[in-house]
Structures are given as C-alpha cells and as structure tokens.
C-alpha cells in the first residue's frame, strides 16, 4: 500500500505545509519509517514518485541523516550519547555495563529482537548524562540521568509491552 493510501490525512497535511513539494521528503520518510522502523526500497520509490524525484536522490537523503534507517534493527533503538560531555559524566562506563547486561555489543540487537544498542553523537542533554534516546519508528523519547538498573527495568517494561515513561 502506498503512503498516500495508508495515511491519506497526514500526507495531505504534509503537502499543504510547504510552498515547494520537495520539502515534504523528510516528513514523508518519517511516515514511511513509522511502522517497521526502517524505510524499504519500495517506500523510497513511492516517495520519489510522489515528489517527482529520482529514487537515488531519496535514498541519498535516507543515507545522509542518522535518524533514517534502511535496514531492520530491534523494535527499539537505544541510542546512548557518549560524546565528550556525557563521557566526562560516565557515559562510556554506562554503555559498557549496559551492553554487558543485555549480552550484546554496541550496534547489536538482543536475541529477542527488542533492543538495538547504538552509540550516538551529542543529543543536547549533556547535564543529564548518562542518557539515551529510544527510537521507535518515527518516535523519539529521551531518558535522562539513567543508571544501568533503571535501564534494565525499562527494557523489561518494553518487553512486557509497556512504554516505561514513568522511568524517565
């Protein structure tokens, strides 16, 4: 099903927002990523056709921005910032311990397909490290001043199908 068939109201609103059609590409890509957590070749072709762009052009935008993905990963991407200010507050140790607890390396997904742990660049939350963002489809939620224990509680909650907002 094309994006326009699947989300007619949202696609219409996106096109109405900009004076130039091409500007719709980024919001449309988020829409395409909502359900599966990554953007398929078919979805890129769909968006390219809507915007009268070459599919390669659309793929290059997916490749350029870090929040778009063209490969499947865990249901949740747990993106830990370990840039300088966070690292000064123990983010590297946090990331190591988290990986050990989950039994994965950075970049890997837990065997149940729930969580992919990633190290990312600055998220503008340097005073609240260790911290990470949880990306699920087109949604991004911050978790700040985290400990490994609280993060493991969050993972258990996610596994049980509860978004652990109370843990933020």
């Amino acid at each position: 099903m094309s994006l326009a068939e699947k989300y007619p109201e949202e696609v219409k609103a996106i096109f109405a927002k900009y004076p130039v059609k091409r500007s719709a590409v980024m919001p449309l890509l988020y829409l395409a990523q909502r359900e599966g957590g990554y953007i398929t070749k078919l979805a890129m072709a769909d968006i390219a056709a809507m915007l009268e762009l070459d599919v390669t052009e659309v793929a290059s935008i997916v490749g350029f921005y870090t929040l778009y993905h063209d490969e499947q990963a865990g249901k949740y991407r747990m993106q830990v910032c370990n840039d300088l200010p966070c690292a000064l507050r123990g983010a590297d140790k946090f990331l190591d311990a988290l990986c050990q607890n989950l039994g994965v390396k950075v970049g890997e997904t837990t065997p149940d397909g729930l969580v992919t742990v990633e190290a990312v660049m600055c998220l503008a939350a340097c005073d609240k490290a260790p911290m990470f963002q949880l990306q699920e489809g087109d949604k991004v939620t911050y978790y700040e001043n985290m400990t490994v224990d609280r993060t493991m509680e969050l993972v258990a909650a996610l596994k049980a199908g509860v978004h652990g907002k109370e843990l933020r």
């Binding site: 935008i61 840039d83 000064l88 507050r89 939620t141």
Partner: protein, 419 residues
C-alpha cells in the same frame, strides 16, 4: 536575579498560555504589529546591541537590515538544531518557556516583513515538535498568529520542520537545504541567505535564544537591555555548564560574568576535590583553555563575553562550557572531539571529510600507545591543512581542540608517545 529567558525558573507554569498572558505575554507582539513600523523594530533591536546567541555573535538587527526590499517574500527561519556537544540551552527554553520563544520568532517575522516563519528542530527533538505545534495552534486561537493580526493587514504563519540527525544542519545554509528537502550540505557563499535564502528568497536565520530575547527588548526598550551585560556584549546569556562539575545545568547570567562565578558560585565547583585542568567554553568546537596553578586566577577572573574569552585563547561561541578535571588526558579529549567531527562532516569538502578521517586514525594510534613523535607532527600538519579550506566552519571547528591541545598540553602527548 530575575530570569528573562529561563522565566520558568521564576514562574514555573509559564508554558501555560493563560499564565504567560497574565505575565505580560504577547504584549510586545501586539505593540510591534499595532504601534511600530517594521523599520522601527529593526532599529530598536540594533540599538539594543543584541548579538546572535548561536555562536557567531553577529549583531541581530544588522543581520536583519541586509534583506533587500525589492525581492519578496522574505522568510524567517529559527535555528533550533542545537547539536554542539556541551550545548543544551535552546531545548530548555523551548520546552519550558515556549510562548516567549514563539513570540520572539513572530516579532522577527514582523520586523523583516515575513508572513511565514519556520522553526527548524533537530530530529531528536521529535516530542518537542509535537509540543510546539500545539503551542502554535493555541497562539492562532488567541489571535497572535494567523490572518489579520490585531485588526491590521498583517498575517503570519509559523511552522515547524523536523530534521533527522545531522550536526551540519546547524550551519545556516545546510539548514536551508534540509528544509528544501535535500541533504544538509552547506552552500557556496556568496550569495548569502539574506539575499538568496530559503527557496531562493531573502531569509533571516536566528538562533532560539536570540529570538527569545526579543519580547523583553521591545517591551522594556533597547536602553534597558544595554544596561545588562557589558558595553560590547550587552544582555543576558544562558550558559550551559557540563562535564566535571558538581551542579551541571543552564545558568542565565549577564554577559561578562566570570568563569569563577559560573564554575564555583553557580556550578558548585569540581567533584571529588579534583582540579580544573581545562575548559572548553564553546563546546567541542573550542580551543581548549589550559588551567594550571600559574594560569588559574587569570582564567577564573576572565569575563565570559564575546571579547574577553579571546584573551585566554578561546571563544565564547554558544557558551557551552565544558569543564575537564585533572584525571583526564588531552589525547582522550581530542579522540572524543575528532570522532564527533569525523562522524558529522557532511562530506562535501575534501579537506574536512578526509582530514577528519586521517586525524581520527592518528589520534587513535596515539591513544593506543602506538604513536610516535612523527605522528604528533603529522596530526598538526593535517589540522593545519583542514583549517580555513572548507565552505563552512565545521572544518575549522574540528581542528580547534586538536591544535590547541597539542600546543598547550604537550606533556600529555609526550607521555603517550614515549610510553
């Protein structure tokens, strides 16, 4: 001290539109639209001496006056792509004092005759976009955004645009490319955005904090604003304090506040009785200030404004002050910064793209104890070859920490290559 930007510290529910209105909200917007000509607004902001808070410190009113009056429409774009390691002030302003921020965007639009304004948020601020969209709807209901505002002919729409993870989009021409639906890569200048900006039209790009100053400047006047801060750097600034510090966070203080006051009075000093070894006052893009027994007092007594930070060999930038204690070595610090810039280089200019790739290789070699004295010289050479040779400042920024660390902390590197 009363807060003018982080007003939620004094009035906790200022993000409620009714509370904002009760506390004088939208009075400045009404004043400019009903009582002032756009040029008068530009003149008032020029007279206030307000300078861009995104890092460059360019006078805001002067920037506005570059827009030609024979090419229309004009656009205002707010840069809310806050991504510099060490900076987290714009996020707090937008989350906690959203209406003052949006009123500031609206005032800027009126001043340059724009009827459409964009707020460009970094992709990670997805939840914040939902929140600001709701705030914009509320302002439309209040009649401070929308058609024929306050019974005049002036109409204004504000829209948010969400990025998708790219530090480079904080560079203003890359940001415009991104709104246009392209990869966020900087444009060749000239032409400057003031003439050929968003969709090829004259465009003003201002930072979140800069714009949040505007309602108070309009309400209380340029003379009042100039009474805060220093002569050349008037007003207040939100300092983001992070790293090895007891109380990290944002502190709104007059420009010209000393490092000592920020670090020890507000920040509560350094944890574990450690000493300050280095300060990066402009985030990862800083030249690193060396602090030791012989320079401690000079650095701590330095006023943090656009002029004086230069006297200790760095820049104020966006005032994202990272404190590094004496348990850390500078080879580790620049490994972090180079890793960041290598990842964030957009790839358009060869010196930045390849230079950062090679700098990271060399720095990692040194960190791993495999480096030699020749590597130190090579690292300096590569940094020199990147500096000043790229379309935007990212290339320059990536070399600041490297060059200053090598020059000011030679013992850290000597120990590493000898070991």
């Amino acid at each position: 001290m009363t807060h003018f930007l982080l007003r939620h510290r004094d009035i906790s529910d200022i993000k409620d539109i009714e509370v904002y209105k009760k506390n004088g909200g939208f009075a400045a917007m009404k004043k400019v639209v009903t009582d002032m000509q756009p040029q008068q607004v530009v003149d008032e902001v020029k007279a206030s001496g307000l300078r861009g808070r995104g890092g460059a410190g360019f006078p805001t009113g002067v920037k506005w006056s570059f827009l030609p009056n024979n090419i229309w429409p004009h656009y205002v774009v707010c840069n809310a792509d806050e991504s510099e390691p060490g900076t987290f002030k714009d996020r707090e302003i937008m989350e906690s004092n959203p209406f003052q921020f949006l009123e500031g965007v609206a005032i800027a639009c009126y001043a340059v005759g724009a009827t459409e304004g964009f707020v460009y948020l970094r992709g990670e601020f997805q939840q914040l976009q939902l929140f600001l969209d709701q705030c914009i709807l509320q302002m439309e209901k209040e009649g401070v955004l929308g058609d024929r505002l306050f019974g005049t002919e002036y109409s204004l729409r504000l829209k948010t645009h969400l990025g998708a993870g790219a530090y480079i989009c904080g560079e203003e021409t890359a940001l415009l490319e991104s709104i246009e639906g392209k990869r966020g890569q900087p444009r060749v200048r000239p032409p400057f955005p003031a003439v050929v900006g968003l969709y090829g039209k004259p465009t003003v790009i201002n930072n979140v904090e800069t714009l949040t100053n505007l309602p108070f400047i309009i309400e209380k006047g340029a003379a009042w604003y100039k009474s805060l801060g220093t002569e050349k750097s008037p007003g207040v600034k939100v300092f983001s304090l992070s790293g090895n510090i007891n109380k990290p966070g944002n502190y709104e203080l007059p420009l010209g506040t000393t490092f000592r006051e920020l670090i020890f009075t507000h920040g509560g000093g350094i944890p574990n009785d450690r000493k300050v070894k280095a300060i990066m006052p402009a985030g990862a893009s800083s030249s690193i200030i060396r602090v030791d027994d012989s320079t401690f007092d000079k650095v701590m007594n330095t006023a943090m404004d656009y002029e004086n930070v230069q006297s200790v060999g760095s820049l104020l930038g966006s005032a994202s002050v990272i404190i590094i204690d004496d348990s850390h070595n500078m080879d580790w610090v620049i490994d972090k910064t180079v890793h960041f810039f290598k990842h964030e280089s957009c790839g358009k200019c060869t010196p930045c793209r390849d230079g950062n790739y090679w700098m990271l290789h060399i720095v990692e070699r040194i960190q791993d104890g495999q480096g030699t004295n020749a590597d130190l010289q090579l690292l300096k050479t590569v940094a020199t070859q990147v500096n000043g040779k790229c379309l935007c400042a990212l290339g320059d920024f990536s070399t600041m920490a490297v060059t200053s660390a090598l020059e000011r902390f030679p013992e850290d590197f000597a120990a590493k290559v000898e070991a």
